[in-house]
Amino acid sequence: MLIDEATVTRAEKTAFALRALYREHGYIPYRMGKFEEYDLYSRHKDFLVSDSVITFTDTNGRLLALKPDVTLSIAKNYRGGEDKAEKVYYDENVYRAVRSAGSFREIRQAGVESIGSRDAAAAGEVLLLAARSLELISEDFVLDLSHLGILTAALEKVTSSLSLQEALLKAAGEKNLHGVRSLLAESGVPEEKAAALLRLIPLCGTPGKVLPALSEIAFEIGAEKEFSFLQRALSVFSGDPAGRIRVDLSVTGDRNYYNGLIFKGFLEGLPAAVLSGGQYDNLMRRLGKKASAVGFAVYLESLEALDPAPPALDGDVLLLYGERDDPGEVTRAADALRAEGRSVRTALTVPAGLRFGKVGIWEKGGIKWQNGTGF
């Protein structure tokens, strides 16, 4: 079977390539149903990108939802202990409200989840897969990486108030140093207490540039263990001359779910992150499972913007025939042109709004090309 490249979208091509990439790394496919009990989502609303979920009542009265997220289902179905590590990949549609569109959308996502391994090598492998996933779409990518454990240690130095910590974390995510300062002033916390946090937020760049400074700060706030985990995970990248892998302490996430590494992937030409992931041991704990987990998702839908503009022509040849013409002869004439690799549309009249490279009229015994457009 031959697949015409022109008919495949960037998202479709990428999905196939990603599946091959994940399989190559020993991950196994994970298939799931479109529906899941609503209860799962209502209990973990904060984990979802949007808290609107499409629900409906099953024939037996149970409230079901069209799944808005894949990770929750995979995590929920994890059955192993520490010795039963799982490495899976998926390529699924999810249904969520898109804030900018103000309505529900069907969104295609592919990604991996590695559950049950707590070591830096397993986390590093997921990072590596994230980078390779991005690279496979475009060479002009950036993978931004942070560690929530380090940020949390810095936040705890500032305050024990969770609400202030959350507000500070949000400002950190916006690289909003003046916002952090005004939050400190409003809450009467002296700036010295936030010295580490204020130095962390602007840190961004290649590991070579950032890690020395980060190591110092991590030592000051007692986050050496977290720093060492980050450093060990980063060691999977042997050489990155283009500086695509970056440590950026402004990458944050919801600490009810995420705890350790957290990362986002960007492609030049697309305005928002196309890949998002992290370690979500806290989600596992909330699901009553004692296991480490790390994974990411690639938002395939957003890749559409990278597709080239549609071709100027809707087809190579328009072959017009009359009602009295012999269908067999017309078909054979069209097929002869198709055999030369051209796309041919046959019609009684010129279809409105469509454009063709050449227009021919079938006349007994041959094609009469219009305006001297013949081959």
């Binding site: 900018s100 916006e174 909003n176 960007f266 492609l267 030049e268 305005p271 928002a272």
Partner: protein, 214 residues
């Protein structure tokens, strides 16, 4: 969002604030003299400085930046609080000062036995503010002339931007509570920041230096 576009695309808010902000950008090393010529053009560029400016409606700046049509922009904190766009907020530009406030007819007393009727353009900010107080409200979303709502009995109070307070005074209203001070912020698209890091850092540093000189 054009690929390989080495211009830094800047969305400026149309109007007096935008002109003031442009002067800051120019002194930060990103001039574009054509911008000041009186014309109806909306897009101006200076290839030498690698910069392209465009004028947009102030409340739309954040949309241009969030969606990557502009790499950076200047938006009021009111808009950022209302729409919570996913952007970086890099700098407080210390211009366009005003405040988001609750205003009511002089002598107003809150009748806590019933929900407070609040007229506003800023639904999200209003909801969050009253939720933080635990006060039940009935939001009346209006698009303009908010001050008239309490006069006509449409609402009890309003939540709106107050600059000098003249409009309020002329309509016999007064500020009851300040919700948050507002000023103009330099915002950046999160993806652009990764790929035009140098240019953005140059701009951010230049603007910070220009601010210190003020």
């Amino acid at each position: 969002m054009a690929k390989r576009d080495r211009f830094l695309n800047v969305a400026l808010p149309k109007g007096r604030l935008g002109e003031k902000v442009y002067a800051m950008f120019a002194s930060a090393g990103f001039p574009c003299p054509a911008l000041l010529e009186n014309s109806r053009k909306l897009i101006f560029e200076n290839p030498g400085a690698g910069i392209r400016y465009f004028w947009v409606k102030p409340s739309d700046v954040a949309i241009y930046v969030e969606r990557g049509a502009a790499d950076v922009g200047v938006a009021g904190k009111d808009i950022l609080l209302e729409y919570e766009p996913e952007i970086y907020e890099l700098l407080d530009l210390d211009v366009g000062h005003c405040r988001m406030a609750v205003a009511a007819p002089k002598g107003f007393r809150d009748d806590t036995r019933r929900p407070l009727r609040v007229a506003t353009k800023f639904r999200h900010i209003t909801e969050r503010y009253y939720a933080s107080l635990g006060r039940e409200i009935d939001i009346i979303h209006l698009n303009g002339s908010i001050e008239i709502a309490p006069i006509l009995g449409l609402s009890d109070v309003i939540v709106d931007i107050v600059e000098t307070g003249t409009t309020l005074r002329e309509n016999d209203l007064e500020v009851v509570e300040t919700i948050v001070p507002i000023s103009a912020r330099l915002i950046a698209n999160r993806s652009s920041f990764k790929f035009k890091t140098e240019e953005m850092e140059k701009l951010q540093k230049g603007l910070a230096a220009a601010l210190r000189q003020l």
